[in-house]
């Protein structure tokens, strides 16, 4: 059912029936290290280039989600997946062997939110019984594409984030009584551009987008922060969180205790030198599949608003002096009572 301006409420909520997360060594050493399904010690994932490594990471994660859910590959009707690389090469090369009809998505670091939005719509509408949503990022491929070669020495500002090497995949299935969690609604974000040009401060670029989507979700469903046990953004980091909380406070919403951010949860800035926090599609996706969904499954959190955030810049737009337009997609994930 269409709700408000940008939301959908699912009468028969699609259910997450399987999840998998695979990350790199550094993520494995972070606060969530023990929660991931696999921590790969070899950041090359057995491949000979970084791009192939990220593709291998996607393939392994997809296979693991299928295996954990005891699902037959041919029953998955669509795959909604994406990454950060130009022309989505990590996804297109990584998913060849899956042989599942693919929608390749680019929403920068918000891709998992976009995949869950589209995947749950597809399932709820009856166009598929099962779909997979997946997103990945790799520190080395992202640095190479957006910043500097790995061997180049430079100093990163405190507002910068650290791209997560990781991938998260979930399998969504049509409404039923058991599963990990249910997707009860979505709020799709729109582009928000507040004129930030500093690519080393993406939290500041994305925070207004997260604010907009959360506020839209409240308005559309006629609810407020009291409806949720947690509101979890993708990769705003510490600077972005400060801004989001300030913006929400100005609107009369106190998110101080219920908000957290995947980028803040995944690394320990003091021992891991990650500055503002983690980022990348893999940040929100792997945190969702290791930390958030299990907590919803066991009932620690009954209702969560998951809001992956994306900074939609390219090296071309950055060099041409453009701003960093951003987006955030909201996914309402709820506990299933047995």
């Amino acid at each position: 059912m269409q709700v408000g301006k940008a939301s959908i409420k699912f009468e028969e909520p699609p259910v997450i029936e399987s999840m998998a997360s695979i990350v790199g060594k550094k993520e494995g050493e972070g606060p969530l290290g023990k929660l991931f399904d696999v921590v790969e010690q070899d950041d090359m994932f057995g491949a000979d280039t970084w791009e192939k490594a990220e593709s291998a990471l996607q393939k392994q994660t997809a296979d693991l989600a299928i295996e954990k859910g005891d699902v037959r590959k041919k029953d998955i009707r669509y795959l909604f997946a994406g990454d950060l690389l130009g022309q989505l090469i990590a996804t297109s090369f990584g998913t060849v062997d899956l042989e599942i009809p693919l929608f390749g998505l680019f929403g920068a670091c918000s891709t998992m939110g976009e995949a869950l939005n589209l995947g749950s719509m597809t399932v709820a509408a009856g166009y598929a019984d099962k779909v997979m949503a997946m997103a990945s990022s790799h520190f080395a491929t992202a640095e190479k594409q957006f910043r500097f070669p790995l061997g180049y020495g430079n100093q990163r500002p405190f507002s910068s984030s650290w791209t997560v090497t990781g991938c998260g995949a979930v399998i969504l299935t049509k409404h039923r009584k058991e599963g990990i969690a249910a997707i009860t609604g979505i709020t799709t974000g729109r582009m928000v551009d507040m004129g930030i040009k500093d690519s080393m401060n993406m939290g500041a670029a994305m925070a207004p987008a997260a604010f907009h989507t959360i506020q839209q979700n409240f308005d559309d469903f006629n609810i407020d922060e009291n409806y949720y046990d947690k509101i979890i953004t993708g990769d705003l980091g510490r600077v972005g969180r400060t801004i989001l909380l300030d913006f929400m406070r100005n609107k009369g919403h106190d998110l101080e205790n219920i908000h957290t951010d995947c980028g803040i949860e995944i690394f320990d800035p003091d021992s891991q030198d990650t500055h503002s926090g983690g980022s990348g599609c893999g940040c929100a996706a792997s945190t969702l599949c290791s930390y958030i969904l299990p907590k919803i499954k066991d009932g620690t959190w009954k209702r969560v608003l998951f809001v992956p955030t994306g900074a939609l810049l390219s090296t071309v737009s950055f060099n041409e002096g453009e701003t960093i337009p951003s987006i955030a997609h909201g996914v309402m994930i709820e506990h299933i009572e047995n």
Partner: protein
């Protein structure tokens, strides 16, 4: 949005943590100083072998570049720069690092389109504008000399 972009920019500046200048300046001074001292030691040792100053300087430059190349390959140079900032970026060792790092990174894309095209992605602007500014200064010096001002 109700907040205007100028006000937002100012607000973001306020909430974004910045590096502490003084400790950074001290670290840069130390690291830069150490690199230069190593260079001076090389020059002096070579000159002690009876080599002329110009030749000794050339050898020193070569030694520093080689050291930087090896340290980049071993992934140690980025750590030095992280600590020392401009102290490690400005000397010739930093320049060598900026050439070797892309060469290593883009090796996978081939000898021509990888290493060949990308090796100067960071150092290219330094080379181009370095040569251009030397040329401009040369012209100025030439004109001033021609008129007997210097």
């Amino acid at each position: 949005m109700e907040v205007n972009k100028k006000a937002y920019e100012a607000y973001v500046k306020e909430v974004t943590p910045v590096n502490k200048k003084l400790p950074n300046i001290i670290k840069a001074f130390l690291v830069g100083g150490i690199i230069c001292t190593i260079g001076q030691i090389c020059t002096t040792l070579i000159m002690n072998q009876g080599v002329e100053k110009d030749t000794a300087s050339a050898w020193t430059t070569l030694i520093l570049i080689a050291a930087s190349v090896i340290l980049t390959g071993l992934n140690i140079y980025p750590k030095i720069t992280k600590f020392g900032g401009a102290g490690a970026l400005v000397p010739i060792t930093g320049f060598a690092n900026s050439v070797v790092a892309p060469a290593v990174e883009f090796k996978a894309e081939g000898q021509v389109f990888g290493i060949g095209c990308k090796i100067f992605t960071i150092a290219g602007p330094v080379i181009l504008y370095g040569i251009l500014s030397s040329w401009i200064l040369g012209v100025i010096a030439y004109v001033l000399k021609a008129f007997g001002i210097v």
